[in-house]
């Protein structure tokens, strides 16, 4: 029997399932996401995927499920729990005087994701609804100083009272967050002990979550948010995942379901630290790119860009190192959860096009009609023109077969509304105005890639990988005339994020704050020795935690590989940089010097030489260890190259496309019928049921032996 991988990416609008067989062949299914019970959308999408193999889940599902090596699910259940505020009734014990830590948060949490003109507009300010209200928060007297010394001992009598009161209030979980517990956790751990004893005495036990275990990292607001998310949302989210697993098990799936971690990697859905999955939606795409880079030469520096209906999400992999944001902004909170650093702007096919009534300036988004109601041409209630309407008016979207014919296109309506609301006020004809809008959104996306992600890096070292439902359609546009090393896409671009879910190793990651200062001059040698000890001790502690965890999950030591990093900055700077270490421990001055040299190299690439202090003092503030276990992943086949000329079966005729101010009859190709080695010269359109690859004038597309599309400027 063939073996399969099943991967699912349940997004806010659609649930994508990809089923890959051992030969690397795949099918993609789509169905609306069902937030109240995500297993429903999952089953429908799975069923849809199998129809492409002429099978039905109800009839033939067992043969796939029973032979599935692994099933991986990325959903929105934790996100929905936070949005809908239907998590556990959690209690919080904090350092006395910080009872408002969740309610008050930080001022900057009130404008996360805002445009600058919105940031400057006080009237928009709003704190998010707290996950734990002040009423279920208790302060207890204690203080540990920044060196880890207990200056005010834990007032244990206050702890006992607090726990009793919170249990009497009916809390269903308990979070504990004390200042500086990342340096010395004794007060938090003692509080947990007392709480456990009180619970035993009272006869009611609830989960206890302590911040020193969740995220032993400096910055109490972010650590508190992470701890509270775990206490509030982990278990309700787990229920959804278990429901999905049940559906698979009913069909014979013999293993446990896996889910995706924010920092890339999969884990068992019974993993205790489920808060690490809180924002795993966009992870799949980056991890898919990362995996592709292990199989295809020349992709070690990769910019991954996902364009859908609403947002344009991008992440940058440098030297195969995943970009990690250790304090990401999420749901109006800063959270100490390491996440892949994926930056988004509001740009997609659903992005609204408006003209400012005061200035007649062309404004794109940032809001969007998304997939529903979607562009005007879908005739589903939206009457504001969108980028998708422009793609249609330019002839790039197939009005006869949009999304494989599943959605009827109302081109006349789109034309009339676009003309009235955009083209005429700009004094342009419809097509010229549509092309102007598309060019502008492409510039916005391109600038987002370059300015947000690349800072000082050299584009000539990077391949741009475009995916997402609308990614291939705009890829050449947002690649622009910048000197990328290459511009690439894949046939399964529409479900690349789901596919990426199947490409991850089993991974756990831990971070810990440490303190090491290395000044110039006579003390440098001694301080380097101290730094080596501090960093090594941190790594050792984290390694032990990770190995204990993975061995308890049934893996053997030799299955686990470890990666060590240090976070370094010039003393006085606030932002540090991740520096991967070639050493598992730092033993001497020379090894410390090597790590510091690597830091300086990254610093000057990221910023400018002007920023480098002449006689720097280095500060190492944090260390991390990633433990990975290899998993079964999709095969990436190598195909024999055929001729440049696409086969006749790939040709779907021609249709007029408007580009650079005039109409051209563009050849249309069926993506599934193209063969490795084929080349298509723009203007051309390559269609698949779920996506469209557009090859503009002056560009060509070549399908290589790995079935990767390479877009090249300058025609052939």
């Amino acid at each position: 029997m063939p073996r399969y991988l099943v991967a699912c990416d349940a997004g806010g609008t659609m649930t994508d399932v990809i089923v890959v067989d051992e030969a690397g062949q795949f099918v993609i299914g789509k169905a609306p996401t069902t937030p109240h019970d995500e297993s429903i959308g999952f089953v429908e999408s799975f069923d849809d995927a199998l129809t492409y193999w002429d099978e039905k889940l109800a009839q033939d599902g067992r043969s796939v499920c029973e032979n599935a090596e692994t099933a991986i699910y990325t959903g929105t259940s934790m996100l929905n729990t936070l949005i809908n505020l239907n998590g556990l009734k959690a209690g919080l014990i904090v350092t006395r005087g910080f009872e408002d830590i969740i309610v008050q948060g930080r001022g900057s949490q009130t404008f996360i994701g805002f445009e600058w003109s919105e940031v400057s507009h006080m009237q928009y300010r709003k704190h998010r609804e707290p996950l734990i209200p002040r009423r279920y928060t208790r302060g207890v007297t204690e203080r540990i100083d920044m060196f880890g010394q207990p200056v005010i001992p834990l007032y244990e009598h206050e702890v006992e009272t607090a726990v009793r009161e919170l249990l009497a209030d009916g809390v269903e979980s308990l979070a504990i967050v004390f200042l500086n517990s990342f340096v010395n956790s004794m007060h938090e751990r003692r509080t947990a002990e007392i709480a456990a004893n009180v619970m035993k005495e009272v006869g009611r036990t609830v989960p206890i979550v302590v911040s020193c275990e969740v995220a032993p990292i400096v910055r109490e607001v972010s650590r508190a948010n992470a701890t509270v998310i775990q206490a509030y949302a982990a278990e309700p989210a787990r229920e959804q995942l278990i429901n999905v697993e049940k559906r698979l098990v009913e069909r014979g799936y013999p293993h446990s379901l896996k889910t995706v971690l924010c920092y890339g990697g999969v884990t068992n859905i019974r993993y205790p630290r489920l808060f690490e999955t809180v924002m795993s939606g966009p992870v799949g795409g980056i991890m898919g790119g990362h995996y592709l880079a292990t199989k295809v030469d020349g992709l070690e520096n990769l910019v991954c860009a996902d364009m859908g209906g609403t947002s344009f999400d991008a992440g940058c992999i440098t030297a195969s190192i995943l970009p990690i944001d250790r304090e990401p902004a999420f749901q109006q909170m800063y959270v100490n959860v390491p996440m892949l650093d994926i930056r988004s702007i509001g740009a997609g096919t659903g992005t609204y096009i408006r003209l400012d009534p005061d200035t007649n300036r062309l404004k794109l988004g940032p809001d969007s009609a998304g997939g529903t109601p979607g562009p005007v041409f879908q005739n589903a209630g939206n009457e504001i023109p969108t980028i998708g309407d422009c793609d249609l008016l330019l002839g790039i979207i197939n009005e006869e077969n949009y999304l494989g014919g599943r959605i009827k296109v109302h081109k006349d309506k789109a034309t009339a509304i676009f003309d009235e609301k955009v083209a005429r006020p700009l004094g342009m004809d419809v097509q010229k105005a549509a092309e102007t809008c598309v060019d502008l959104i492409n510039v916005m996306m391109r600038e987002h890639l370059i300015r947000s992600l690349m800072l000082g890096y050299d584009l000539r070292d990077y391949v741009l990988l475009g995916y997402g439902g609308a990614g291939p359609m705009h890829l050449a546009g947002y690649a622009g005339d910048y000197p990328w090393k290459g511009v690439a896409s894949v046939p399964h671009a529409a479900a690349f994020s789901a596919w990426g879910g199947a490409c991850m190793d089993y991974a756990h990651r831990r971070h810990k704050s440490v303190s090491a200062l290395i000044p110039p001059g006579e003390y440098a040698v001694a301080m380097k020795q101290q730094a080596a000890q501090a960093v090594s001790a941190g790594w050792e502690e984290l390694e032990q935690q990770l190995l204990d965890e993975l061995l308890a999950e049934g893996f053997t030591r030799d299955q686990v590989s470890l990666k060590h990093s240090a976070y370094i900055k010039y003393y006085g700077h606030l932002d540090d940089l991740e520096v991967p270490s070639p050493f598992e421990r730092l033993h001497d001055e020379a090894e410390v010097d090597q790590v510091l040299a690597a830091f300086e190299d990254i610093f000057t690439k990221t910023y400018t030489l002007a920023g480098k202090p002449p006689l720097p003092t280095f500060q190492i503030g944090e260390v991390s260890v990633v433990a990975e276990v290899g998993t079964v992943k999709p095969t990436i086949n190598t195909y024999e190259l055929e001729g440049k000329e696409p086969p006749k079966s790939a040709s779907k005729g021609k249709r007029p496309v408007y580009q650079e101010g005039h109409w051209t009859d563009a050849p249309i190709f069926e993506m599934d019928e193209l063969r490795a080695g084929n080349e298509v010269t723009g203007v051309a359109i390559i269609e698949a049921p779920n996506t469209t690859l557009f090859v503009p004038p002056g560009w060509s597309a070549r399908l290589d032996e790995r079935m990767i599309f390479w877009l090249n400027r300058g025609g052939n």
Partner: protein, 736 residues
């Protein structure tokens, strides 16, 4: 295009004169009646704007990360921008919106002072200024600029500004409220060329090392400014390569003119023409406190009038006629800096589509009276400006309210903002926990309560009038910088103004000194109300409290800790403050009038109570929905006696459910009683006016600060004096 080519061959001084002539003659900046580039290709126009904005924000990313001070990175007290050759800001990064005007005027001053000829302007040159005599605001804000040349032509400037932690003033830190004169304001950099070939001169580094207390941080910020500016210069050059120098030349001017048009259209569509005024008074109570020079042992009162005249075509004219005289403290500001402050407040209330100099060109700011706190140098060339933002903050708050009234009048209720909170700063200096000297500012003040809106309460801890990047960061990060330990940082109940919609609440930080042999604390100000209630809220609201801090030195805190007795984690009910209730100390002050410097050095286990204020409210407090009062009671954001006495809400606490409930009938009765009490207290206006007139004539209960203020106001602006006399029907020869 020929005119453009001709202009491009002009010297910068000629371009400046030409720009002014064209604006005067045509009513449009640069004479641009038509925005041709915008009309010809709106997509390219927007695309290049988008690219330039991204370039500035990239400079922010680079510059802030390279900068050393927490105030730049976590506090957002920095900014980078792109300017026309004559200084006008085209496009700026996120950051402290109070600065683009200053940067524009700094570059303009370089032009006006003939720097093109002497010392000349070359690629790689770096210019800096922090001298308020030449367009700076105060010595801790360093304005910097580098030219951008293209094919040998000076095509634009890149700018950067950051606030340093110590500027070498007479007292440590960067908020020099106590500076008696300009000589104590800090290390001056007076319109200087500070480097070439993208490197600071050696003397610059030497000066910063010998004349500031935290030179590593100061020089780190300098590197950050430079790194950001180089980023702008390099990326802008790429833009010009791509889109052409002619397009760039036109487009950057069109963006500025577009900014002007937007500001005017916003005023036209949302405000009303006419004249609107607001009186506002700010005090500075220093009598009897630790000061630097004997003449500072005084109380000062600032008259901060705001008058706005809006014409039918939506042009706006601002006036400070009646502003009182300069003060012997670092709270004087120059007209140039006031322009930038106004640009900042305008961006909050009028908004912007393209945040640039265009808004400034849409209004006129009358030169404030010579010798006033807003224009001190004609009378005293050496007036101090250590925290020049302080009076500007209060004046900007008035602008919130006046524009709020205009918007309310037109029905744009959601755009209203009652007056802003003040921003009480905390600075420490002494030997830090690493046994090294440290001096600097915490971020505590940068996240106040937000003003009440026209249809909702203000948000708690969410706004700062001088930077929209409102944030106070993490306590754990502040503890890394200074030898302090937080004992509390909670929302302060009832700290916003009271009204139908209350002001957003501030918070109170409680610090215990630790890991130092001694530490100085300055409770300074970027806005402050010592005793006088500045800004009052709108439409019948009651104002917020004045700013009051607290401290205790020589305490029994260690004994209390050892005995596990209660400490101080919140200010507590002002009727019985926790400091007084729980602590014994050699010196204990729970209601210290801000600003102040603690009289003596503080030592381990001494305590500080540092308030961060709430903002102003809107509407009558007894019209507040009892459900909102109830919600505040249950969240601990108001006290029952406030609910009863201010809002007329009768509430009961259920010990069992630990929740409050409102007694609706009792509340109705209480409110009816309050209305009746008001009626009983009320007197007809004419009667009140007559009583008050008699008091004015007799100068009854007028402290010297009050008399000094009125005297200088009426002398510095005789027309204002005449108006005052006319209103009170005082004799022609009446003087205060």
């Amino acid at each position: 295009m020929c005119a453009m080519l001709a202009e491009r061959t002009m010297k910068l001084t000629e371009q400046l004169a030409n720009n002014e002539r064209l604006l005067k003659e045509t009513g449009y900046m640069f004479g641009m009646e038509d925005l041709k580039r915008k009309q010809e290709d709106p997509g390219r126009y927007e695309a290049v704007w988008h690219i330039l904005l991204n370039i500035c924000n990239t400079a922010w990313d680079v510059g802030c990360r390279v900068s050393s001070s927490a105030i730049a990175v976590d506090g957002g007290d920095a900014l980078w921008g792109l300017h026309l050759p004559t200084g006008e800001a085209v496009c700026v990064s996120k950051g402290i919106t109070a600065h683009p005007g200053l940067l524009s005027l700094f570059i303009r001053s370089l032009v006006e002072l003939g720097y093109e000829d002497d010392p000349g302007i070359e690629h790689g040159d770096m210019f800096e200024n922090n001298d308020s005599h030449y367009g700076g605001i105060h010595a801790s804000d360093f304005d910097a600029a580098i030219p951008i040349f293209y094919d040998g032509e000076l095509i634009a400037w890149a700018s950067g500004v950051s606030h340093v932690m110590d500027c070498g003033a007479i007292l440590p830190g960067s908020i020099g409220f106590m500076n008696p004169d300009a000589f104590s304001d800090g290390v001056p950099v007076t319109m200087e060329k500070v480097g070439e070939n993208d490197k600071y001169y050696r003397w610059y580094e030497m000066r910063m090392r010998s004349r500031t207390r935290m030179p590593d941080w100061v020089l780190g910020d300098a590197r950050g400014r430079l790194a950001g500016m180089i980023t702008i210069r390099d990326k802008v050059t790429e833009v010009i390569d791509k889109y052409g120098v002619d397009f760039f030349w036109d487009a950057i001017r069109e963006y500025v003119e577009d900014g002007r048009r937007y500001a005017m259209k916003r005023v036209k569509s949302q405000a009303v023409p006419g004249r609107i005024r607001k009186s506002n008074f700010k005090d500075l109570a220093m009598e009897g406190k630790r000061v630097i020079l004997p003449q500072q042992d005084v109380n000062c009162l600032f008259n901060q009038p705001l008058e706005i005249n809006i014409s039918g075509d939506a042009s706006v004219r601002f006036s400070l006629a009646g502003a009182s005289g300069w003060v012997p403290f670092g709270q004087n500001i120059t007209p140039m800096a006031m322009t930038s402050a106004l640009m900042n407040a305008y961006s909050h209330m009028v908004g912007f589509d393209m945040f640039n100099w265009g808004a400034v060109a849409s209004w006129d700011l009358e030169t404030p009276p010579d010798g006033s706190w807003a224009n001190p140098y004609p009378a005293n060339l050496f007036a101090a400006s250590g925290v020049a933002w302080a009076p500007a903050v209060m004046w900007m708050s008035s602008l919130y309210e006046t524009f709020g009234r205009l918007y309310y009048t037109r029905g744009y209720v959601e755009e209203v903002a009652a007056g802003a909170a003040t921003t009480l700063t905390a600075e420490f200096s002494g030997i830090g926990q690493y046994e090294m000297y440290v001096a600097g500012l915490t971020l505590e003040q940068a996240s106040n309560g937000a003003p009440a809106r026209g249809m909702a309460d203000g948000e708690n801890s969410a706004w700062c009038i001088y930077t929209p990047n409102a944030d106070f960061g993490n306590a754990e990060v502040s503890e890394l910088y200074y030898p302090i330990m937080y004992l509390g940082r909670n929302i302060e109940p009832d700290s916003g103004g009271y009204g139908k919609y209350r002001g957003g609440l501030g918070h109170t930080a409680i610090w215990m000194i630790k890991n130092t042999p001694g530490l100085e604390y300055q409770c300074g100000c970027a806005g402050i109300r010592s005793k006088v209630v500045g800004n009052h809220g709108m439409y019948g609201a009651y104002p917020t409290w004045p700013d009051r801090g607290g401290y205790a030195a020589g305490t029994n805190v260690k004994e209390l800790i050892d005995a596990q007795k209660p400490l101080v984690h919140e200010r507590g009910d002002p009727v019985e403050p926790n400091l007084e209730k729980n602590i014994k100390a050699d010196v204990l002050e729970s209601n210290a009038i801000a600003p102040f410097v603690t009289p003596h050095q503080l030592h381990e286990y001494d305590l500080i109570i540092h308030p961060v204020s709430g903002a102003q409210a809107l509407g009558d407090p007894i019209e507040r929905d009892p459900e909102l009062v109830l919600s505040d009671l249950n969240k601990g954001w108001t006290r029952d006696w406030v609910a009863a006495s201010v809002h007329g809400v009768v509430a009961n606490y259920d010990e069992k459910t630990k929740e409050w409930t409102v007694d609706a009938p009792a509340t109705e009765r209480r409110r009816a009683e309050m209305r009746e009490e008001r009626k009983q207290r009320a007197v007809p206006f004419r009667e009140w006016w007559q009583q008050e007139r008699e008091r004015v004539i007799a100068k009854e209960n007028m402290a010297s600060a009050v008399l000094d203020m009125w005297r200088s106001s009426t002398q510095l602006t005789p027309a204002y004096g005449a108006e005052i006399r006319a209103f009170w029907q005082l004799p022609e020869d009446f003087t205060f």
